[in-house]
């Protein structure tokens, strides 16, 4: 079995990570942090979400954050938009890419987006259309591709059908969310088998949570399947308010260290990444869970380099 030469990581910490923190981070600290992430070599950063401050007060300053960051050439700055209102805000500030959301579970869809799966598809279709007209890339999150925190196992034919619909709408990319982090490697294999002919592994993005420490195990299998794009959050920041028991995203440091050990390029400077994580860790006064981050930070040496 062989591995790809390089992989691409979308840093989702500023959005997926921060929205799950009990406290809000001051706007300027977010901007400084995103600027630090921009210097690491990451090619895409999900900066914020244009959501109602009523639902996600942690991201109430999305416009200030997006307009405050110093955009670096070669980095794509994305933002999540849950609805038409968010899309208009995103358009106003000139985002490079938007992320829209749907799910493969009815219950999760209701809890996360307050509508049915069909309702969420009808909501995102015109946004995607409008984004295309404005020349803006669209990534579409498809949550619960393996399991739902409320419904348990998900029928992967449902995942396949929704993926087909999303691609018909014209989305640039589908981001497959293993929202609760229960997948075993064979589930990842089943997922891509189910998507065969609709979405190739190379074109997909895989979004994993490290709930019980199995994210790298799933990434190894995904690499074998041909996946080359992954979401991750620096330090492993995150969780999901609508997925009880789900831990943070797989840590960017863990994915980068793992890839580099395998000789797979990421374009990311590990030291700079750790520095960026360290900034947000100090700000949140938390203990970031990433193993590779902790090891590097605690030992001031990187055992694998």
């Amino acid at each position: 079995m062989s591995f790809p030469k390089e992989i691409h990581i979308t840093e989702v910490g500023p959005r997926d990570g921060l929205q799950n923190q009990p406290m809000s981070v001051p706007t300027q600290r977010k901007i400084d942090w995103i600027n630090a992430l921009s210097a690491t070599g990451l090619s895409t950063i999900e900066t914020t979400a244009f959501v109602s401050p009523k639902w996600v007060p942690q991201l109430a300053d999305s416009k200030e954050v997006y307009t405050g960051i110093s955009k670096t050439d070669g980095v794509r700055y994305s933002a999540l938009v849950p609805n038409e209102f968010g899309w208009r805000s995103a358009l106003e500030v000139g985002v490079d890419e938007i992320a829209v959301i749907t799910a493969a579970s009815e219950t999760f869809s209701e809890k996360n987006t307050n509508t049915t799966i069909e309702g969420s598809l009808l909501r995102i279709a015109p946004i995607i259309q409008s984004a295309i007209e404005h020349g803006i890339q669209v990534r579409c999150y498809l949550s619960c591709v393996v399991a739902c925190p409320y419904e348990g196992s998900i029928d992967m034919n449902v995942v396949r059908n929704i993926a087909e619909r999303i691609l018909d709408f014209g989305a640039s990319a589908i981001d497959l969310g293993e929202t609760i982090g229960v997948a075993l490697p064979e589930d990842i294999r089943r997922l891509y088998d189910a998507l065969d002919g609709v979405l190739s592994p190379e074109e997909s993005i895989l979004h994993l949570h490290n709930t019980n420490g199995k994210a790298l195990l799933c990434i190894e299998e995904a690499l074998h399947c041909g996946v080359v794009k992954f979401d991750a959050s620096c330090g492993g920041l995150g969780g999901c308010p609508y997925a009880p028991g789900a831990a943070g995203n797989v840590a960017t440091e863990d994915v980068v260290a793992f890839a580099h050990e395998r000789g797979i390029e990421t374009g990311i400077d590990f030291q700079k990444l750790v520095d960026a994580s360290s900034m947000i860790e100090s700000e949140l006064q938390c203990v970031l869970p990433s193993n590779a981050y902790r090891t590097f930070k605690d030992a001031h040496t990187f055992p694998n380099e």
Copy 2:
């Protein structure tokens, strides 16, 4: 590829975990913790080490701890003995099993046991002989089976030769230590290939550290190789004072959750294990790194059950 029906975990937290903590835990708290671990269903617990308090002050109360615990039927209470002096102390308190130590790296051997590999073998041979005469089981740690923090990659022929010597001495079991947690799955496969004809996977014990979050990836490969015995420490407590950059042992919770998801029996009650980890976490006022522990503790629900 198939998996075994059951695996056996040796809990090494009270020894490997505590010896790496900056602070000492009061004797009675250690005893309470080990008693809590005894109630989880674990079959073997490494309780302490009979070492010089000069080198490991955290375990200076080894005799008091060992004689203070309430032994439960069906649980084997082990203790590490680095030398003849430690062995005599262990014998005095009536240990069920001793663990002796050697390594596959000259430099690590010097740093960890203050002698050459040959010196360490000459040191443990008479201890093993004496233990056999007293009807006491002997597990022999063989450290640095994949890599050494000072020498880098280890020649697995050296591992094979030392394993052969240890078995000739009459040790009941060899505990293969991937001391610094850099192994990729293919290294685990290479290790067991190198040991072919000397030590079968089924008879070995595998001791992993989760430095960069790859321990479960290595355990998956080890299961495929036929390994059924693993060391782990509850909550992921640990590290190694002589292995800069090495994180704690793979967490007992992570291994147990992973095994149970696979339908592999461990005999361990997950809730009781979390309760035991919680005791030591409160005592040390630290944040235990285990993903499965954190998830369960933070969510008060176990998403995979």
